[in-house]
Protein backbone atom coordinates (compact mmCIF):
# COMPACT_ATOMS: atom_id res chain seq x y z
CA UNK A 1 0.00 0.00 0.00
CA UNK A 2 1.26 3.44 -0.90
CA UNK A 3 1.60 6.02 1.81
CA UNK A 4 -0.72 8.35 -0.12
CA UNK A 5 -3.36 5.57 -0.25
CA UNK A 6 -3.02 5.07 3.49
CA UNK A 7 -3.54 8.77 4.16
CA UNK A 8 -6.40 8.89 1.69
CA UNK A 9 -8.12 5.97 3.45
CA UNK A 10 -7.44 7.54 6.85
CA UNK A 11 -8.83 10.89 5.70
CA UNK A 12 -11.89 9.24 4.21
CA UNK A 13 -12.35 7.17 7.37
CA UNK A 14 -12.45 10.37 9.45
CA UNK A 15 -14.73 11.96 6.88
CA UNK A 16 -17.11 8.99 7.12
CA UNK A 17 -17.11 9.33 10.89
CA UNK A 18 -18.02 13.00 10.73
CA UNK A 19 -20.64 12.57 8.05
CA UNK A 20 -22.12 9.65 9.91
CA UNK A 21 -21.52 11.21 13.32
CA UNK A 22 -24.76 10.37 15.11
CA UNK A 23 -24.53 6.71 14.28
CA UNK A 24 -20.82 6.76 15.04
CA UNK A 25 -21.47 8.44 18.40
CA UNK A 26 -24.12 5.85 19.25
CA UNK A 27 -21.63 3.08 18.47
CA UNK A 28 -18.87 4.75 20.44
CA UNK A 29 -21.24 5.26 23.39
CA UNK A 30 -22.25 1.60 23.36
CA UNK A 31 -18.71 0.31 23.15
CA UNK A 32 -17.70 2.78 25.83
CA UNK A 33 -20.49 1.54 28.11
CA UNK A 34 -19.69 -2.11 27.46
CA UNK A 35 -15.94 -1.70 27.89
CA UNK A 36 -16.43 0.50 30.96
CA UNK A 37 -18.57 -2.24 32.52
CA UNK A 38 -15.94 -4.72 31.53
CA UNK A 39 -13.20 -2.53 33.00
CA UNK A 40 -15.04 -2.18 36.32
CA UNK A 41 -15.78 -5.92 36.52
CA UNK A 42 -12.27 -6.75 35.48
CA UNK A 43 -10.78 -4.52 38.21
CA UNK A 44 -13.08 -6.03 40.83
CA UNK A 45 -12.42 -9.58 39.65
CA UNK A 46 -8.68 -9.07 39.48
CA UNK A 47 -8.67 -7.74 43.04
CA UNK A 48 -10.94 -10.54 44.19
CA UNK A 49 -8.58 -13.07 42.64
CA UNK A 50 -5.70 -11.33 44.34
CA UNK A 51 -7.49 -11.54 47.71
CA UNK A 52 -8.41 -15.18 47.09
CA UNK A 53 -4.82 -15.94 46.13
CA UNK A 54 -3.60 -14.32 49.36
CA UNK A 55 -6.02 -16.46 51.35
CA UNK A 56 -5.00 -19.56 49.37
CA UNK A 57 -1.40 -19.03 50.34
CA UNK A 58 -2.42 -19.43 53.98
CA UNK A 59 -4.45 -22.60 53.47
CA UNK A 60 -2.46 -25.57 54.65
CA UNK A 61 -2.85 -29.28 55.23
CA UNK A 62 -1.20 -30.80 58.30
CA UNK A 63 -0.06 -34.41 58.17
CA UNK A 64 0.59 -36.39 61.40
CA UNK A 65 2.39 -39.70 61.43
CA UNK A 66 1.91 -42.96 63.38
CA UNK A 67 3.92 -43.08 66.61
CA UNK A 68 7.39 -44.41 66.06
CA UNK A 69 7.77 -43.23 62.48
CA UNK A 70 11.36 -42.23 61.94
CA UNK A 71 12.34 -38.74 60.89
CA UNK A 72 14.07 -40.24 57.87
CA UNK A 73 10.78 -41.69 56.56
CA UNK A 74 8.91 -38.47 57.26
CA UNK A 75 11.49 -36.49 55.27
CA UNK A 76 11.24 -39.02 52.48
CA UNK A 77 7.44 -38.49 52.41
CA UNK A 78 8.04 -34.74 52.39
CA UNK A 79 10.06 -35.08 49.17
CA UNK A 80 7.35 -37.22 47.55
CA UNK A 81 4.66 -34.68 48.40
CA UNK A 82 6.79 -31.76 47.22
CA UNK A 83 7.06 -33.36 43.79
CA UNK A 84 3.29 -32.98 43.18
CA UNK A 85 2.38 -30.02 40.95
CA UNK A 86 -0.43 -28.64 43.16
CA UNK A 87 1.97 -28.28 46.10
CA UNK A 88 3.85 -25.04 46.55
CA UNK A 89 5.70 -25.76 49.76
CA UNK A 90 6.08 -28.48 52.41
CA UNK A 91 7.49 -27.66 55.82
CA UNK A 92 8.72 -30.38 58.18
CA UNK A 93 8.03 -29.59 61.82
CA UNK A 94 9.83 -31.87 64.24
CA UNK A 95 8.34 -32.86 67.61
CA UNK A 96 10.68 -30.42 69.31
CA UNK A 97 9.67 -27.55 67.08
CA UNK A 98 5.99 -28.39 67.58
CA UNK A 99 6.48 -28.35 71.34
CA UNK A 100 8.48 -25.11 71.26
CA UNK A 101 5.80 -23.49 69.21
CA UNK A 102 3.05 -24.77 71.51
CA UNK A 103 4.91 -23.61 74.57
CA UNK A 104 5.45 -20.19 73.10
CA UNK A 105 1.84 -19.83 71.99
CA UNK A 106 -0.05 -21.22 74.98
CA UNK A 107 2.05 -22.06 78.02
CA UNK A 108 4.71 -19.45 78.47
CA UNK A 109 6.42 -19.85 81.85
CA UNK A 110 4.18 -22.80 82.84
CA UNK A 111 6.07 -24.94 80.39
CA UNK A 112 8.91 -25.21 82.92
CA UNK A 113 7.03 -28.05 84.64
CA UNK A 114 7.34 -30.41 81.70
CA UNK A 115 10.44 -32.53 81.65
CA UNK A 116 9.54 -34.57 78.59
CA UNK A 117 8.06 -33.49 75.34
CA UNK A 118 4.33 -34.28 75.62
CA UNK A 119 4.05 -33.81 71.87
CA UNK A 120 6.56 -36.55 71.18
CA UNK A 121 4.50 -37.96 68.34
CA UNK A 122 3.52 -34.62 66.91
CA UNK A 123 6.19 -34.26 64.27
CA UNK A 124 4.26 -33.23 61.17
CA UNK A 125 4.35 -31.91 57.63
CA UNK A 126 2.68 -28.63 56.80
CA UNK A 127 1.68 -28.55 53.16
CA UNK A 128 0.93 -25.27 51.34
CA UNK A 129 -0.97 -25.52 48.08
CA UNK A 130 -0.39 -23.75 44.83
CA UNK A 131 -3.97 -24.54 43.80
CA UNK A 132 -6.59 -25.35 46.42
CA UNK A 133 -8.86 -26.91 43.80
CA UNK A 134 -6.64 -30.01 43.98
CA UNK A 135 -6.74 -30.25 47.76
CA UNK A 136 -9.01 -33.35 47.81
CA UNK A 137 -6.69 -35.29 45.46
CA UNK A 138 -3.70 -34.42 47.58
CA UNK A 139 -5.48 -35.47 50.77
CA UNK A 140 -6.33 -38.83 49.15
CA UNK A 141 -2.73 -39.25 48.09
CA UNK A 142 -1.38 -38.47 51.55
CA UNK A 143 -3.95 -40.63 53.37
CA UNK A 144 -2.86 -43.66 51.33
CA UNK A 145 0.59 -43.50 52.93
CA UNK A 146 0.70 -46.23 55.58
CA UNK A 147 2.64 -44.21 58.19
CA UNK A 148 0.12 -41.39 58.10
CA UNK A 149 -2.11 -41.23 61.17
CA UNK A 150 -4.13 -38.14 60.51
CA UNK A 151 -4.57 -35.43 57.89
CA UNK A 152 -6.02 -32.11 59.04
CA UNK A 153 -7.53 -29.86 56.41
CA UNK A 154 -10.48 -27.64 55.80
CA UNK A 155 -12.60 -28.89 52.92
CA UNK A 156 -14.92 -25.90 53.17
CA UNK A 157 -12.22 -23.28 52.64
CA UNK A 158 -10.95 -25.10 49.58
CA UNK A 159 -14.43 -25.56 48.13
CA UNK A 160 -15.39 -21.92 48.71
CA UNK A 161 -12.25 -20.60 47.11
CA UNK A 162 -12.51 -22.97 44.16
CA UNK A 163 -16.16 -21.99 43.68
CA UNK A 164 -15.36 -18.30 43.83
CA UNK A 165 -12.61 -18.71 41.26
CA UNK A 166 -14.94 -20.56 38.94
CA UNK A 167 -17.64 -17.92 39.34
CA UNK A 168 -15.14 -15.23 38.43
CA UNK A 169 -14.21 -17.10 35.28
CA UNK A 170 -17.86 -17.63 34.25
CA UNK A 171 -18.80 -13.98 34.81
CA UNK A 172 -15.77 -12.81 32.82
CA UNK A 173 -16.50 -15.07 29.87
CA UNK A 174 -20.22 -14.23 29.89
CA UNK A 175 -19.50 -10.54 29.97
CA UNK A 176 -17.02 -10.69 27.14
CA UNK A 177 -19.37 -12.70 24.92
CA UNK A 178 -22.27 -10.31 25.54
CA UNK A 179 -20.08 -7.31 24.95
CA UNK A 180 -18.78 -8.70 21.69
CA UNK A 181 -22.23 -9.49 20.36
CA UNK A 182 -23.77 -6.09 21.12
CA UNK A 183 -20.81 -4.06 19.92
CA UNK A 184 -20.30 -6.07 16.76
CA UNK A 185 -23.93 -5.57 15.83
CA UNK A 186 -23.76 -1.83 16.43
CA UNK A 187 -20.54 -1.17 14.56
CA UNK A 188 -21.65 -3.34 11.70
CA UNK A 189 -24.88 -1.34 11.55
CA UNK A 190 -23.06 2.00 11.60
CA UNK A 191 -20.80 0.95 8.75
CA UNK A 192 -23.79 -0.33 6.76
CA UNK A 193 -25.45 3.07 7.09
CA UNK A 194 -22.20 4.72 5.98
CA UNK A 195 -22.05 2.45 2.95
CA UNK A 196 -25.69 3.18 2.07
CA UNK A 197 -25.06 6.93 2.32
CA UNK A 198 -22.04 6.65 0.03
CA UNK A 199 -23.54 4.16 -2.42
CA UNK A 200 -23.35 6.65 -5.31
CA UNK A 201 -19.72 7.46 -4.62
CA UNK A 202 -18.84 3.77 -4.40
CA UNK A 203 -20.52 3.12 -7.76
CA UNK A 204 -18.46 5.89 -9.37
CA UNK A 205 -15.28 4.59 -7.75
CA UNK A 206 -16.07 1.18 -9.17
CA UNK A 207 -16.51 2.54 -12.69
CA UNK A 208 -13.31 4.56 -12.53
CA UNK A 209 -11.36 1.43 -11.59
CA UNK A 210 -10.91 1.55 -7.83
CA UNK A 211 -9.63 -1.69 -6.34
CA UNK A 212 -11.66 -3.54 -3.68
CA UNK A 213 -9.06 -2.52 -1.13
CA UNK A 214 -9.32 1.15 -2.06
CA UNK A 215 -13.12 1.14 -1.75
CA UNK A 216 -13.20 -0.86 1.47
CA UNK A 217 -10.28 0.63 3.39
CA UNK A 218 -12.03 3.87 4.50
CA UNK A 219 -14.95 1.90 5.98
CA UNK A 220 -12.65 -0.47 7.82
CA UNK A 221 -10.69 2.50 9.14
CA UNK A 222 -13.98 4.09 10.27
CA UNK A 223 -14.72 0.91 12.26
CA UNK A 224 -11.21 0.86 13.72
CA UNK A 225 -11.52 4.50 14.79
CA UNK A 226 -14.88 3.85 16.47
CA UNK A 227 -13.32 0.89 18.29
CA UNK A 228 -10.25 2.88 19.29
CA UNK A 229 -12.19 5.85 20.68
CA UNK A 230 -14.71 3.46 22.24
CA UNK A 231 -11.94 1.74 24.17
CA UNK A 232 -9.86 4.80 25.11
CA UNK A 233 -12.76 6.59 26.85
CA UNK A 234 -13.71 3.74 29.23
CA UNK A 235 -10.03 3.12 30.01
CA UNK A 236 -9.69 6.72 31.17
CA UNK A 237 -12.94 6.52 33.13
CA UNK A 238 -12.01 3.24 34.79
CA UNK A 239 -8.58 4.58 35.72
CA UNK A 240 -10.03 7.64 37.46
CA UNK A 241 -12.77 5.60 39.14
CA UNK A 242 -10.38 2.90 40.34
CA UNK A 243 -8.11 5.35 42.12
CA UNK A 244 -11.08 7.23 43.61
CA UNK A 245 -12.51 3.98 45.00
CA UNK A 246 -9.15 2.95 46.51
CA UNK A 247 -8.82 6.39 48.11
CA UNK A 248 -12.38 6.16 49.43
CA UNK A 249 -11.82 2.71 50.97
CA UNK A 250 -8.56 3.81 52.55
CA UNK A 251 -10.24 6.90 54.02
CA UNK A 252 -13.53 5.38 55.16
CA UNK A 253 -12.72 1.74 55.91
CA UNK A 254 -9.24 1.76 57.43
CA UNK A 255 -9.95 -1.54 59.21
CA UNK A 256 -10.37 -3.26 55.85
CA UNK A 257 -6.84 -2.49 54.77
CA UNK A 258 -5.51 -4.70 57.57
CA UNK A 259 -7.51 -7.67 56.29
CA UNK A 260 -7.13 -7.39 52.54
CA UNK A 261 -4.77 -5.70 50.14
CA UNK A 262 -5.80 -4.15 46.83
CA UNK A 263 -3.77 -4.26 43.66
CA UNK A 264 -2.05 -1.01 42.64
CA UNK A 265 -3.55 0.68 39.54
CA UNK A 266 -0.40 -0.10 37.52
CA UNK A 267 -0.89 -3.85 38.01
CA UNK A 268 -4.56 -3.73 36.97
CA UNK A 269 -4.03 -1.43 33.98
CA UNK A 270 -0.95 -3.26 32.74
CA UNK A 271 -3.35 -5.95 31.50
CA UNK A 272 -6.58 -3.97 31.23
CA UNK A 273 -5.18 -1.43 28.73
CA UNK A 274 -4.04 -3.97 26.13
CA UNK A 275 -7.15 -6.12 26.62
CA UNK A 276 -9.51 -3.15 26.18
CA UNK A 277 -7.63 -1.75 23.20
CA UNK A 278 -7.47 -5.12 21.48
CA UNK A 279 -11.17 -5.73 22.18
CA UNK A 280 -12.23 -2.25 21.00
CA UNK A 281 -10.11 -2.24 17.87
CA UNK A 282 -10.90 -5.91 17.22
CA UNK A 283 -14.64 -5.31 17.48
CA UNK A 284 -14.28 -2.26 15.22
CA UNK A 285 -12.35 -4.24 12.66
CA UNK A 286 -14.63 -7.29 12.68
CA UNK A 287 -17.83 -5.21 12.68
CA UNK A 288 -16.72 -3.17 9.69
CA UNK A 289 -15.43 -6.22 7.84
CA UNK A 290 -18.83 -7.93 8.22
CA UNK A 291 -20.59 -4.96 6.64
CA UNK A 292 -17.99 -4.34 3.99
CA UNK A 293 -18.02 -7.98 2.90
CA UNK A 294 -21.79 -8.05 2.87
CA UNK A 295 -22.47 -4.76 1.08
CA UNK A 296 -19.35 -4.04 -0.93
CA UNK A 297 -18.98 -6.78 -3.48
CA UNK A 298 -17.29 -4.32 -5.82
Amino acid sequence: MRISTFFYALGQGFRNLLRNRWFALASIATITTCLFMFGVFYSILLNFRHIVATIEEGVSITVFFEPGTSEEIMLQRKVEIEERPEVSEVVYISAEEAWDSFKGDYLGEYAEGFTENPLEDSANLEIYLADVAHQAELVDFVEEMEEVREVNYSAMTADTLTGANRLIAYISVGLIVLLFAVSLFLISNTISVGIAVRREEITIMKYVGATDFFVRAPFVIEGLLIGLVGSAIPLGLTYVLYNKVLEYIAAHFPSLSGLVTFLPDKTVFATLVPICLIMGVGIGFLGSMFSVRKHLRV
Binding site: T5, Y207, V208, G209, T211, F214
Partner: protein, 241 residues
Protein backbone atom coordinates in the same frame (compact mmCIF):
# COMPACT_ATOMS: atom_id res chain seq x y z
CA UNK B 1 0.99 10.72 -17.39
CA UNK B 2 0.82 7.03 -16.54
CA UNK B 3 1.87 4.53 -19.13
CA UNK B 4 -0.93 2.21 -20.15
CA UNK B 5 -0.27 -1.49 -20.48
CA UNK B 6 -2.66 -2.98 -22.97
CA UNK B 7 -2.74 -6.55 -24.18
CA UNK B 8 -2.62 -7.35 -27.89
CA UNK B 9 -5.68 -5.90 -29.59
CA UNK B 10 -7.06 -8.23 -32.25
CA UNK B 11 -6.74 -6.69 -35.73
CA UNK B 12 -6.74 -3.09 -34.51
CA UNK B 13 -10.16 -3.51 -32.88
CA UNK B 14 -10.56 -2.08 -29.41
CA UNK B 15 -13.91 -3.83 -29.02
CA UNK B 16 -14.97 -7.17 -30.46
CA UNK B 17 -18.25 -8.90 -29.71
CA UNK B 18 -18.83 -12.33 -31.18
CA UNK B 19 -22.31 -13.82 -31.15
CA UNK B 20 -23.10 -12.41 -27.72
CA UNK B 21 -26.24 -13.42 -25.86
CA UNK B 22 -27.40 -12.01 -22.56
CA UNK B 23 -30.35 -13.45 -20.70
CA UNK B 24 -31.20 -12.09 -17.24
CA UNK B 25 -32.03 -14.35 -14.34
CA UNK B 26 -35.73 -13.68 -14.71
CA UNK B 27 -35.49 -15.17 -18.20
CA UNK B 28 -35.61 -11.80 -19.99
CA UNK B 29 -33.52 -11.96 -23.12
CA UNK B 30 -31.62 -8.66 -23.61
CA UNK B 31 -29.12 -9.49 -26.34
CA UNK B 32 -29.61 -12.12 -29.04
CA UNK B 33 -26.45 -12.97 -30.92
CA UNK B 34 -24.79 -9.55 -31.22
CA UNK B 35 -21.51 -9.37 -33.17
CA UNK B 36 -19.63 -6.16 -33.81
CA UNK B 37 -16.14 -4.69 -34.09
CA UNK B 38 -15.12 -1.18 -33.12
CA UNK B 39 -11.73 0.05 -34.24
CA UNK B 40 -9.35 2.26 -32.34
CA UNK B 41 -10.20 5.95 -32.78
CA UNK B 42 -13.74 5.39 -34.06
CA UNK B 43 -16.75 7.53 -33.09
CA UNK B 44 -19.82 5.31 -32.85
CA UNK B 45 -23.45 6.02 -31.98
CA UNK B 46 -25.57 3.21 -30.62
CA UNK B 47 -29.24 3.97 -31.05
CA UNK B 48 -32.44 2.06 -30.47
CA UNK B 49 -35.70 2.23 -28.64
CA UNK B 50 -36.00 1.56 -24.93
CA UNK B 51 -35.44 -2.14 -24.23
CA UNK B 52 -33.46 -2.71 -27.43
CA UNK B 53 -30.39 -3.86 -25.46
CA UNK B 54 -28.25 -0.67 -25.58
CA UNK B 55 -27.77 -0.42 -21.81
CA UNK B 56 -27.03 -4.12 -21.52
CA UNK B 57 -24.39 -3.70 -24.20
CA UNK B 58 -22.73 -0.84 -22.28
CA UNK B 59 -22.81 -2.88 -19.05
CA UNK B 60 -21.13 -5.78 -20.83
CA UNK B 61 -18.40 -3.46 -22.14
CA UNK B 62 -17.82 -2.16 -18.59
CA UNK B 63 -17.77 -5.73 -17.27
CA UNK B 64 -20.61 -4.85 -14.95
CA UNK B 65 -22.38 -7.84 -16.47
CA UNK B 66 -21.04 -10.94 -18.17
CA UNK B 67 -22.42 -12.44 -21.37
CA UNK B 68 -24.55 -15.56 -21.08
CA UNK B 69 -22.98 -16.80 -24.31
CA UNK B 70 -20.40 -15.50 -26.80
CA UNK B 71 -17.15 -13.53 -26.46
CA UNK B 72 -16.70 -9.94 -25.35
CA UNK B 73 -13.20 -8.61 -25.90
CA UNK B 74 -12.31 -5.05 -24.93
CA UNK B 75 -8.75 -3.76 -25.36
CA UNK B 76 -7.47 -7.31 -25.46
CA UNK B 77 -9.17 -8.28 -22.21
CA UNK B 78 -11.45 -11.31 -22.54
CA UNK B 79 -14.27 -10.11 -20.29
CA UNK B 80 -15.75 -13.59 -19.98
CA UNK B 81 -12.68 -14.99 -18.27
CA UNK B 82 -11.06 -11.92 -16.69
CA UNK B 83 -10.18 -12.45 -13.02
CA UNK B 84 -12.05 -10.29 -10.50
CA UNK B 85 -8.82 -8.76 -9.25
CA UNK B 86 -7.96 -7.51 -12.75
CA UNK B 87 -11.26 -5.75 -13.39
CA UNK B 88 -10.20 -2.43 -11.76
CA UNK B 89 -7.07 -2.35 -13.92
CA UNK B 90 -9.15 -3.04 -17.02
CA UNK B 91 -11.66 -0.29 -16.15
CA UNK B 92 -8.91 2.29 -15.83
CA UNK B 93 -8.73 2.22 -19.62
CA UNK B 94 -12.34 3.35 -19.92
CA UNK B 95 -14.05 6.66 -19.26
CA UNK B 96 -17.77 6.73 -18.60
CA UNK B 97 -20.37 9.50 -18.70
CA UNK B 98 -23.97 9.02 -17.56
CA UNK B 99 -27.21 10.81 -18.36
CA UNK B 100 -27.65 11.86 -14.71
CA UNK B 101 -24.00 13.04 -14.39
CA UNK B 102 -23.44 11.15 -11.11
CA UNK B 103 -21.31 13.84 -9.50
CA UNK B 104 -20.46 14.02 -5.80
CA UNK B 105 -22.71 16.83 -4.63
CA UNK B 106 -20.81 17.55 -1.43
CA UNK B 107 -17.59 18.35 -3.29
CA UNK B 108 -16.52 21.09 -5.65
CA UNK B 109 -15.70 20.79 -9.34
CA UNK B 110 -11.98 20.28 -8.75
CA UNK B 111 -12.55 17.56 -6.14
CA UNK B 112 -14.96 15.70 -8.38
CA UNK B 113 -12.34 15.42 -11.10
CA UNK B 114 -9.36 14.87 -8.78
CA UNK B 115 -11.34 12.02 -7.18
CA UNK B 116 -10.86 9.92 -10.35
CA UNK B 117 -7.11 10.53 -10.26
CA UNK B 118 -6.82 9.54 -6.61
CA UNK B 119 -8.59 6.28 -7.30
CA UNK B 120 -6.01 5.29 -9.90
CA UNK B 121 -3.26 6.30 -7.42
CA UNK B 122 -1.90 9.12 -9.54
CA UNK B 123 0.95 10.81 -7.65
CA UNK B 124 -0.36 13.88 -5.83
CA UNK B 125 2.04 16.19 -7.66
CA UNK B 126 0.48 15.30 -11.04
CA UNK B 127 -3.14 15.55 -9.96
CA UNK B 128 -3.30 19.36 -9.84
CA UNK B 129 -1.75 19.70 -13.30
CA UNK B 130 -3.90 17.00 -14.93
CA UNK B 131 -7.14 18.29 -13.40
CA UNK B 132 -6.38 21.88 -14.44
CA UNK B 133 -5.66 20.73 -17.99
CA UNK B 134 -8.83 18.75 -18.37
CA UNK B 135 -11.01 21.46 -16.76
CA UNK B 136 -9.57 23.98 -19.24
CA UNK B 137 -10.39 21.59 -22.05
CA UNK B 138 -14.07 21.33 -21.06
CA UNK B 139 -14.23 25.09 -20.46
CA UNK B 140 -14.60 25.08 -16.67
CA UNK B 141 -11.18 26.34 -15.63
CA UNK B 142 -12.69 29.34 -13.85
CA UNK B 143 -15.35 27.34 -11.99
CA UNK B 144 -13.14 24.77 -10.29
CA UNK B 145 -14.05 25.96 -6.81
CA UNK B 146 -17.80 25.82 -7.30
CA UNK B 147 -20.03 23.15 -5.79
CA UNK B 148 -21.52 21.01 -8.54
CA UNK B 149 -25.02 21.84 -7.30
CA UNK B 150 -24.39 25.46 -8.29
CA UNK B 151 -23.76 24.52 -11.92
CA UNK B 152 -26.18 24.26 -14.83
CA UNK B 153 -26.98 20.84 -16.33
CA UNK B 154 -24.61 21.42 -19.23
CA UNK B 155 -21.82 22.42 -16.88
CA UNK B 156 -22.43 19.40 -14.67
CA UNK B 157 -22.12 17.14 -17.68
CA UNK B 158 -18.83 18.86 -18.54
CA UNK B 159 -17.55 18.08 -15.06
CA UNK B 160 -18.61 14.46 -15.55
CA UNK B 161 -16.82 14.47 -18.90
CA UNK B 162 -13.69 15.98 -17.32
CA UNK B 163 -13.78 13.24 -14.67
CA UNK B 164 -14.10 10.58 -17.38
CA UNK B 165 -11.21 12.05 -19.36
CA UNK B 166 -8.71 12.96 -16.65
CA UNK B 167 -7.29 9.44 -16.52
CA UNK B 168 -6.76 9.51 -20.32
CA UNK B 169 -9.02 6.59 -21.21
CA UNK B 170 -8.56 4.68 -24.46
CA UNK B 171 -12.33 4.33 -24.80
CA UNK B 172 -15.00 6.82 -23.71
CA UNK B 173 -18.48 5.40 -23.13
CA UNK B 174 -21.28 7.95 -22.93
CA UNK B 175 -24.69 6.63 -21.91
CA UNK B 176 -27.34 9.18 -23.00
CA UNK B 177 -24.97 12.10 -22.24
CA UNK B 178 -27.43 14.68 -23.56
CA UNK B 179 -30.59 13.11 -22.16
CA UNK B 180 -31.07 15.85 -19.56
CA UNK B 181 -29.82 18.80 -21.63
CA UNK B 182 -31.42 21.29 -23.99
CA UNK B 183 -30.41 21.17 -27.70
CA UNK B 184 -27.82 23.91 -27.40
CA UNK B 185 -26.05 22.36 -24.43
CA UNK B 186 -26.35 18.94 -26.04
CA UNK B 187 -24.59 20.16 -29.11
CA UNK B 188 -21.79 21.67 -27.00
CA UNK B 189 -21.25 18.32 -25.27
CA UNK B 190 -21.17 16.52 -28.63
CA UNK B 191 -18.57 18.95 -29.91
CA UNK B 192 -16.46 18.20 -26.86
CA UNK B 193 -16.82 14.48 -27.51
CA UNK B 194 -15.73 15.01 -31.09
CA UNK B 195 -12.68 16.91 -29.85
CA UNK B 196 -11.84 14.02 -27.53
CA UNK B 197 -12.22 11.63 -30.43
CA UNK B 198 -9.89 13.72 -32.57
CA UNK B 199 -7.28 13.22 -29.85
CA UNK B 200 -7.37 9.47 -30.61
CA UNK B 201 -9.84 8.23 -28.00
CA UNK B 202 -12.49 5.80 -29.20
CA UNK B 203 -15.89 7.31 -28.38
CA UNK B 204 -19.11 5.31 -28.07
CA UNK B 205 -22.32 7.26 -27.48
CA UNK B 206 -25.65 5.67 -26.63
CA UNK B 207 -28.42 8.15 -27.43
CA UNK B 208 -32.02 8.84 -28.34
CA UNK B 209 -31.18 12.26 -29.76
CA UNK B 210 -32.06 12.02 -33.44
CA UNK B 211 -31.01 15.55 -34.31
CA UNK B 212 -27.52 15.05 -32.96
CA UNK B 213 -27.01 11.66 -34.60
CA UNK B 214 -28.07 13.05 -37.97
CA UNK B 215 -25.94 16.17 -37.60
CA UNK B 216 -22.75 14.40 -36.47
CA UNK B 217 -22.72 12.06 -39.45
CA UNK B 218 -20.80 9.21 -37.72
CA UNK B 219 -21.06 5.44 -37.65
CA UNK B 220 -24.49 4.45 -36.29
CA UNK B 221 -25.34 1.03 -34.89
CA UNK B 222 -29.10 0.62 -34.57
CA UNK B 223 -30.40 -2.00 -32.17
CA UNK B 224 -33.81 -3.59 -31.90
CA UNK B 225 -34.99 -6.30 -29.51
CA UNK B 226 -31.46 -7.32 -28.56
CA UNK B 227 -30.11 -7.55 -32.10
CA UNK B 228 -28.27 -5.22 -34.45
CA UNK B 229 -30.75 -3.92 -36.98
CA UNK B 230 -28.24 -1.90 -38.96
CA UNK B 231 -24.62 -0.75 -38.75
CA UNK B 232 -23.95 2.18 -41.10
CA UNK B 233 -20.84 4.33 -41.51
CA UNK B 234 -21.76 8.02 -41.67
CA UNK B 235 -25.38 7.14 -40.99
CA UNK B 236 -28.43 8.76 -39.47
CA UNK B 237 -31.05 7.99 -36.86
CA UNK B 238 -33.51 5.39 -38.19
CA UNK B 239 -35.42 4.32 -35.11
CA UNK B 240 -39.13 4.81 -34.75
CA UNK B 241 -39.69 5.46 -31.04
Amino acid sequence: MRKKTVMAIPEGNVITLQNVYKTYEQGVSALNGVSLDIKQGEFVFIVGETGSGKSTLIKLLLRELTATEGDVNVLGYDLGTIRRGRIPKFRRNLGIVFQDFRLLKDRNVYENVAFAQRIVLEPAANIRRNVSEVLAMVGLADKYKMKTSQLSGGEQQRVALARALVNRPLILLADEPTGNLDPEKSWEIMQLLEKVNEGGTTVIVVTHNQEIVDRMNKRVITMKMGSILSDVDMGGYEVED
